[in-house]
Symmetry: C2
Subunit: 317 residues, 2 copies
Amino acid sequence: MPSEFELIRRHFTRLTPQALLGPGDDCALLVPTAATVLAVTTDMLVEGTHFLPDTDPCALGWKVLAVNLSDLAAMGARPRWVLLAGSLPAGDESWIAQFAAGLFACADRYAVDVVGGDTTRGPRNLCLTAIGELPSTTALRRDRALPGDDLWLSGQTGLAALGLAHLQGRIQLGEALRDPCVAALQRPLPRVELGIRLRDLAHAAIDVSDGLLADLAHVVEQSRVAAEVFLARLPPLPVGVERLLARHCQLAGGDDYELLFTAAADRRHDLAALAGELELPLWRCGRIVAAPVGEIRVVDEGGQVVEFGDRGFDHFA
Amino acid sequence: MPSEFELIRRHFTRLTPQALLGPGDDCALLVPTAATVLAVTTDMLVEGTHFLPDTDPCALGWKVLAVNLSDLAAMGARPRWVLLAGSLPAGDESWIAQFAAGLFACADRYAVDVVGGDTTRGPRNLCLTAIGELPSTTALRRDRALPGDDLWLSGQTGLAALGLAHLQGRIQLGEALRDPCVAALQRPLPRVELGIRLRDLAHAAIDVSDGLLADLAHVVEQSRVAAEVFLARLPPLPVGVERLLARHCQLAGGDDYELLFTAAADRRHDLAALAGELELPLWRCGRIVAAPVGEIRVVDEGGQVVEFGDRGFDHFA
């Protein structure tokens, strides 16, 4: 087994044009853009909790970065630098090489530099910290939703949960649905460009990592408002899956990394134009109301309120 | 077991006066000081690899922050913000409460804000990312040692390794030595103020985490120079331990978090004054020479070169 230093040199050392000093010293040195604010976030992925032991390491390398970039996107920040710490079992060099390939594929796609990290031995665990920048007054905070706002969702939620259920053998997806669902789970596309473009359009935003209703709950609680979700305005459910299961995954499945955001009603035209420009569907799927604070009402196609007990995924629940 | 969100709220939510936005959103928001450079570092501590399962959680909370602040100190950066990600077994709330007490004791001591994090379930693993600031041209890099520089060491190295050996039952320390050695291991004091004051005095610096010779090797390799270490000028060995073991721990023991740095010979007076002001011994224990590049010669009290095979601790060796 090569040494820790040699492993890092072989697989994680790339040029870091956005850093004053990259990996190899006690710290990386970064020059922030004048008059910007930093957005910082960290996420830890644990084998057995967040990914299966046989997960493709290349997909995992992509995902550990993508989920952090999604948090930056949800603030409207442009990603710039990341640090990666990893604990790995012995004898893992081929795994490391594939993991690094996936990580750097995502880093290249979103133009971020991997500026530092830490490698150690232990149960497989990957922790990534991402740093982005944004103009000072434009952050998309969770606590800025206003009564009267429209509620919007990008893309589609629920596919990742279906993909996970398929990989775990709990359901059997047909050929047409299998690939997009597994891809949604393993190679999520963080909505970085959308987040940046929403700085001047949206009031509040969050990325859907725990499930649509669970993440919406954070927005309404922190904004001290309530929300209505209209099933008829959500993205069409995928064909070839039992309808109730598909709906449950759409509302309560985790790991989607779409953006859920609120915007004033006079922004509908701008948002429709943005959807066209980014070639990314934006669904006006609900609205923010004043009360009762913290409540989410899900309204079906007939205008009836429906009950959903399980709002999403809590790692300790 | 309370939920992930409740655990974070109870134990990790403090005021964050240095952040524009602290924990609770997708990202923390930070305003960097104008015209400074950011120094960033991340370190992961794994149960079984970096700490024993029965380690006092309060001491561990201190240490996971302290080791990262030590990396900032080694660059000359002033610490400002940290993010903590942790994977923990179930049913751990009392452990978490003690860990948080230790973490915030260190955060208070060094005036840093814990601005964000992630909590999940799994084998115990703690990953901390620290962000500091420094004026742009003053970073203490590893690759800046110059032939003719003096080599300096702060404090004392080797005590942490002795403390570990004692806790593991490999040696039996007397009462007088046990407490300082276990404290050196469990509650290291990162040399933050020293690092800041060295910005204008030192050329190169590194913190001693892997062992004095192992870390000096990084400096000489990256600076393309060689070094001589004079045993007679190192801190006196502790009394009450077999001399060869004490010397081995001093030169090759890990986990010390002292600063090892180089400075021009005309800075000796300034550094002696600084040692007095900080009440921290600074030992002029060697010198940088031009060649052979990468070599470290350890010279004993009689002027003879001595051999040390084991330079320090490599997590994968």
